[in-house]
């Protein structure tokens, strides 16, 4: 029953996130969910979400395959490094993590465009990176409250 509830929750989350992505182009709204999964330290869940989110973003994007895999892979690495130093549920950690992801989004997109000889609008990319930074804590907080097994205030 609990597994089914979790499954339904993730379906609802992904649907909501894709709706957000539809209205804010260039932004990944699945990231906060992935962060939540990383915080739960459920490796199987993280693995399937990694595969699913990568396929969704690669399929809807128009760069050659690899950018989304690097995007989510980078998040795992960043999370592992950050959680060594900080408490992973702390809001300061989330804020710093979001800032780093915004920067990572900018650098990764710029790098992938450079290696694929694709022209990039730096102004738009910068704007999207800032929105990405701001949107992560917001969606994460909502998802954190709504997720089964989590209580408001960060306690599990």
């Amino acid at each position: 029953m609990k597994t089914l509830y979790r499954f339904v929750w993730w379906i609802a989350y992904i649907s909501g996130a894709l709706l957000v992505q539809r209205f804010i182009p260039g932004v990944d709204a699945l990231v906060p969910g992935f962060l939540l999964a990383l915080q739960e330290q459920n490796r199987q869940q993280c693995f399937w979400l990694f595969i699913l989110f990568t396929l969704i973003q690669e399929g809807t994007g128009n760069l050659l395959f690899g950018a989304a895999a690097l995007w989510y892979g980078g998040q795992v690495l960043l999370f592992r490094m950050g959680s060594i130093i900080f408490v992973k549920d702390n809001i300061i950690f989330i804020a710093m993590y979001s800032g780093c992801l915004g920067l990572y989004h900018f650098l990764l997109t710029w790098l992938m465009c450079a290696v694929q000889a694709v022209h990039v609008d730096f102004e738009a990319l910068l704007r999207e990176s800032v929105i990405q930074t701001l949107i992560i804590p917001l969606i994460w907080a909502l998802a954190h409250i709504a997720k089964p097994g989590h209580a408001p205030g960060g306690a599990q």
């Binding site: 539809r22 260039g26 990944d28 809807t60 994007g61 128009n62 999207e128």
Partner: protein
């Protein structure tokens, strides 16, 4: 003696009839309201269908269709997700329908773009305004040739490259496809020249233009096939039965 009683009885009958009539009126009112809502919804759908029909009729009147077989496609998605860097949109026709990579995409006003990549039943179209887009054009009046590319800045801004210093291209001239790259037929409008600046340190003039088509508002497009190729056949189920109103999912 009986008249007050008769008066009361008449009043009661009158009140009762009016009350019953009110109940009927209320029911009828509810029914009429629901009918009105349904009629409004149908009128809205009919208006939408009529506008779509007008757009499709205009598409079919396109000059280029006399040279090339073509088929229509519907725009089903715009830019989506963090990896969507290019200016693209997705259409509901894939390589099984004939939308192969490089297929020119137009509407009645002019050039929209070309197919960047295709899956079996959907394709991604690279818009004319993307900086990676290249197309040989010629100006309609002064016959000045050049290569049109998209621009990073501005929604409809285009740049025309390789325009010779002595070319007499003027602001306001319409740029049309040159028809020399074997993909787009000659004569389809592309843009209007907005600025011409002599290049002081380079061999060419700097020419800016604006795309004729407002690419953000495109809903249906035409894909031009190669000369001599047959347009894709309708699936049997679709070919046998009369056209039906598309569902929301098809829209």
């Amino acid at each position: 003696m009986l008249s007050p009683v008769v008066w009361v009885k008449d009043k009661f009958d009158e009140w009762w009839e009016h009350y019953m009539a009110l109940v009927d009126i209320s029911k009828e009112n509810t029914r009429l309201r629901s009918e009105l809502e349904r009629a409004r919804a149908e009128a809205m759908l009919a208006a939408e269908d009529r506008m779509e029909l007008e757009r499709l009729r205009a598409l079919l009147g396109l000059e280029a269709l006399r040279e090339r077989p073509a088929f229509a496609a519907r725009v089903i998605a715009k830019r989506f997700g963090p990896q969507a860097v290019l200016k693209t949109f997705t259409i509901n026709k894939g390589f099984l329908d004939g939308a192969v990579t490089g297929t020119p995409v137009v509407i009645q006003n002019g050039v929209v773009g070309r197919v960047l990549r295709a899956s079996p039943h959907a394709a991604t179209v690279l818009m004319l305004t993307d900086p990676g887009f290249r197309l040989a054009v010629i100006s309609r009046d002064s016959r000045t040739p050049g290569i049109i590319t998209g621009s990073i800045s501005g929604q409809r801004r285009l740049e025309m490259a390789y325009v010779a210093q002595n070319a007499r291209i003027m602001v306001g001239e319409v740029l049309i496809t040159a028809g020399i790259d074997a993909s787009f037929p000659k004569g389809i409008p592309v843009g209007v020249v907005t600025q011409v600046t002599p290049g002081n340190e380079i061999l060419f003039q700097q020419v800016h233009a604006q795309a004729i088509v407002d690419l953000e508002r495109v809903e249906e497009v035409l894909l031009l096939m190669e000369e001599g190729s047959a347009p894709p056949a309708l699936p049997p189920a679709q070919a046998d039965r009369p056209a039906e109103r598309p569902t929301n999912a098809q829209r």
